[in-house]
């Protein structure tokens, strides 16, 4: 009965209170020791440092930046870079994933084999190794003078990858992108939302079209307003002297991370999409066939809607994971949120504060993604089947 008395002891309130007290004391000692350690190094705690100027430069920024700018601006730039890389990576990975998923669920054995080879190759090699590999490949490209050119529009060189861009300020482009997303979401909502299920399709479709047109006009107006004066709208990269001017330049660091994330993420997303399609009960498809649906209609009206509902919850996890993977920026030197934080810790010594900001930033990003995805998930859930978590 010795064991029993031990269990009763472990379960008793007094014992738990003692444990809690010990944990609290240990934490307090650690905090105190940490403060002493920081004081010995001459670091004042608090968030005042955010308004001090940094004095160091940053490798990649979407907004103008100089070394006299304060810390909060550098952290903001880092967060923007993470979001920029993250969403570009998510979009490309989703594109790759859809292609792979379609190949993997195809009835054609050759297409299926190509999908399998792709997935097994990219999924079984660590992401950081792929990032290193692409970074080495991109930095070993020829210099700008001998850049690999694709029809005078795309240039691959050791200084980065050059694509046709717009002569429009970054802020205006960001607003345009926002309008684009809002327009597409509004159109999809008008078509698919259940709240409008009383409306006839003949009324919904023109409305959705109208939403897209309004978004298009808004994008045009903002783009026109944000144009850099005296330049054509589209800026083409071209070789001038020893360097390539104009166009949109993706640095080797950004391009390496983007490539690695989309190829690796695409393999995982492809598997998720495949699993979603495989989870559809056979009876649903057989019923559609029995009703005389054409293959295309079976896909768009039966398989796709059911698969999307099965895919979404897993997709959320994978998206969150991919956003977190942008922290690999530190491996190749891309100024993502985490690299900026770690440089700030080295330079300012405000360790605890910066770690809190880091945690807060990631909690915010993860929370936003899962809230949005869960809202989508709820809004498309089939009545009576309940929301799958």
């Amino acid at each position: 009965m010795k064991r029993d008395s031990l269990v009763t002891l472990l379960a008793s309130r007094h014992f738990q209170a003692v444990v809690a007290a010990i944990v609290f004391v240990v934490l307090a000692v650690l905090v105190y020791a940490g403060q002493q350690e920081l004081m010995a190094k001459g670091i004042v705690s608090g968030f005042d440092f955010l308004w001090r100027s940094t004095g160091w430069d940053i490798g990649f920024s979407l907004i103008p930046y100089s070394i006299s700018d304060p810390y909060w601006k550098v952290l903001l730039i880092g967060l923007m870079n993470t979001l920029f890389l993250g969403f570009a990576g998510l979009a490309l990975a989703t594109l790759v994933g859809v292609l792979v998923g379609v190949a993997r669920t195809s009835h054609n054995p050759v297409l299926n084999a190509i999908g399998t080879i792709y997935v097994e190759t990219f999924r079984n090699v660590p992401l950081i190794l792929q990032a290193f590999f692409w970074y080495a490949v991109y930095t070993h490209l020829p210099p700008p003078r001998k850049a690999v050119a694709f029809g005078d529009m795309v240039f691959l060189s050791a200084r980065g990858i050059y694509l046709p861009g717009f002569n429009i300020s970054n802020g205006a482009i960001a607003i345009c992108a926002l309008f684009l997303v809002v327009g597409i979401v509004a159109a999809l909502w008008l078509i698919a939302s259940r709240r409008l299920s009383g409306w006839a399709e003949a009324r919904r479709l023109p409305l959705a079209g109208l939403a897209l047109v309004v978004a298009g006009v808004a994008i045009f107006l903002v783009g026109e307003a944000g144009r850099i004066a005296g330049q054509p709208v589209v800026s083409m990269p071209e070789l001038r002297g020893l360097n390539i001017r104009g166009g949109l330049r993706l640095t080797s660091e950004f391009a390496a991370l983007l490539t690695a994330m989309s190829l690796y993420g695409g393999a995982y997303l492809g598997e998720i999409i495949r699993a979603g399609f495989l989870s559809i009960p056979k009876g649903q498809i057989e019923a559609a066939k029995a009703l005389g649906f054409r293959p295309w209609h079976i896909f768009t009206l039966v398989r796709l809607p059911l698969a999307i509902r099965a895919i979404l919850p897993t997709l959320t996890n994978q998206y969150v994971w991919l956003i977190k993977a942008t922290t690999l920026g530190i491996a190749v030197g891309f100024s993502d949120f985490f690299l900026v934080i770690s440089t700030s810790i080295n330079q300012s010594g405000q360790t605890v504060e910066l770690l809190l900001i880091l945690m807060g930033g990631f909690l915010l990003i993860n929370y936003t993604i899962s809230t949005v995805m869960n809202a989508i998930n709820r809004s498309i859930a089939i009545r009576g089947q309940g929301t799958r978590k």
Partner: protein, 366 residues
């Protein structure tokens, strides 16, 4: 009227048997679109396959005797860099004469890994004994200082053996920790369950790199030096915590998938909490959680490569060093392909094993 009689022999006739050739035709060339896909896909595969074969085998240099200069001039792959630098990649800065110890330690670790895939070892006691013994043998061989082996400190460890050491240590610490965390999160007293839940959710919402960075770089700033410990062990502790946070949720979902009758039956029999957990709940929960557990192991093995960020000389870092210095700098593709291949062998076999288990369990359920 006899003509219109329906003979049973007519009705019982099945659909016409499909010959192998007809099945092949239906699968590969059934529809017009299939013809295009099959021919185009095959052409693509053959094209890529042939070029890879040409690059990796036909035009490649294999021997370490081929110098860097001669190797660079070749059209194909230069595997000579592997032949010349494989010791650096596998053993890091480990003393040259003692490399056999590092190699043997890796072989033991892989052996333990294979043994734990055999169902005979699937009891808590056998698994624990195998892993602890294997791990002890690994450390004794690597570290030395006893049995007449010369001492090699952790700073000199590197390459694949360091990667395997870190993975094994993380699994060995993380697994019991995860069970503890899972049980604490399910505790009925909020004193325990709330802080543990908060800890698990915070760790899970952070990227592993930030945790590694915190333990490797930030702890020395914050913690007095007598409390810091070796960087390698701090990194292992951080990774183990990260692993345990994910694994705890896997185990918890395994526990929650059990019917509550199991635990209640144990209570009725008068079993104590630990008896119910050890003999009734955990064995069943682990069985259900086996496929995601193996998946988590696969992910953790891949993530050991992230410790290159905090400056430990693991497999990927020693690979970078293998081509980084001077003469072999051009051979980065070959080095990365080789590292990728080694990771692939480990990860692919483990995930295939996981898929096999999942199939086996699905059959057992029916």
């Amino acid at each position: 009227m006899a003509d219109t009689m329906l003979h049973t022999s007519d009705v019982s006739m099945g659909p016409p048997r499909q010959g192998a050739l007809e099945k092949f035709r239906a699968d590969y060339f059934g529809r017009p679109s299939d013809v295009i896909l099959t021919l185009g896909g095959t052409a693509l595969l053959v094209y890529i396959g042939w070029h890879l074969f040409q690059w990796a085998i036909l035009d490649a240099a294999f021997s370490a005797d081929v110098g860097a200069k001669a190797c660079e001039a070749k059209a194909g792959a230069c595997w000579s860099v592997i032949a010349a630098r494989w010791r650096l990649m596998f053993f890091g800065l480990y003393p040259y004469e003692e490399h056999w110890r590092s190699g043997l330690a890796c072989a033991i670790a892989i052996g333990v890994g294979i043994l734990s895939c055999v169902p005979y070892f699937w009891t808590a006691r056998r698994l624990t004994v195998t892993w602890v013994l294997g791990f002890a043998a690994f450390v004794v061989l690597m570290r030395g200082g006893v049995f007449g082996l010369s001492e090699v400190t952790e700073e000199q460890w590197g390459g694949l053996s360091l990667t395997i050491f870190i993975f094994a240590a993380v699994a060995l610490i993380g697994m019991p920790l995860s069970i503890l965390l899972a049980l604490m999160r399910r505790s009925s007293t909020p004193f325990v369950s709330v802080p543990v839940g908060l800890l698990i959710d915070t760790v899970r919402s952070l990227p592993l790199i930030t945790i590694l960075f915190t333990v490797a770089v930030v702890v020395p700033i914050l913690v007095p030096s007598w409390l810091q410990g070796e960087k390698l062990y701090r990194v292992i502790a951080g990774m183990a915590l990260f692993f345990a946070a994910y694994q705890a949720e896997i185990i918890r979902s395994g526990i929650q998938s059990l019917s509550s009758g199991q635990d209640e039956a144990g209570r009725t029999l008068g079993l104590t909490y630990w008896q119910r957990m050890i003999y009734i709940v955990l064995p069943q929960a682990f069985r259900r959680a086996l496929p995601p557990t193996i998946n988590q192991m696969v992910i953790t093995f891949k993530e050991t490569s992230l410790i290159i960020i905090v400056g430990l000389f693991e497999f990927l870092a020693s690979g970078n060093a293998a081509y980084g210095s001077g003469e072999w700098a051009f051979a980065y593709v070959e080095v990365y392909v080789f590292i990728a291949f080694v990771y692939f062998v480990f990860v692919f076999s483990l995930s295939r094993y996981g898929a096999y288990l999942e199939r086996r369990m699905r059959i057992a359920q029916h």
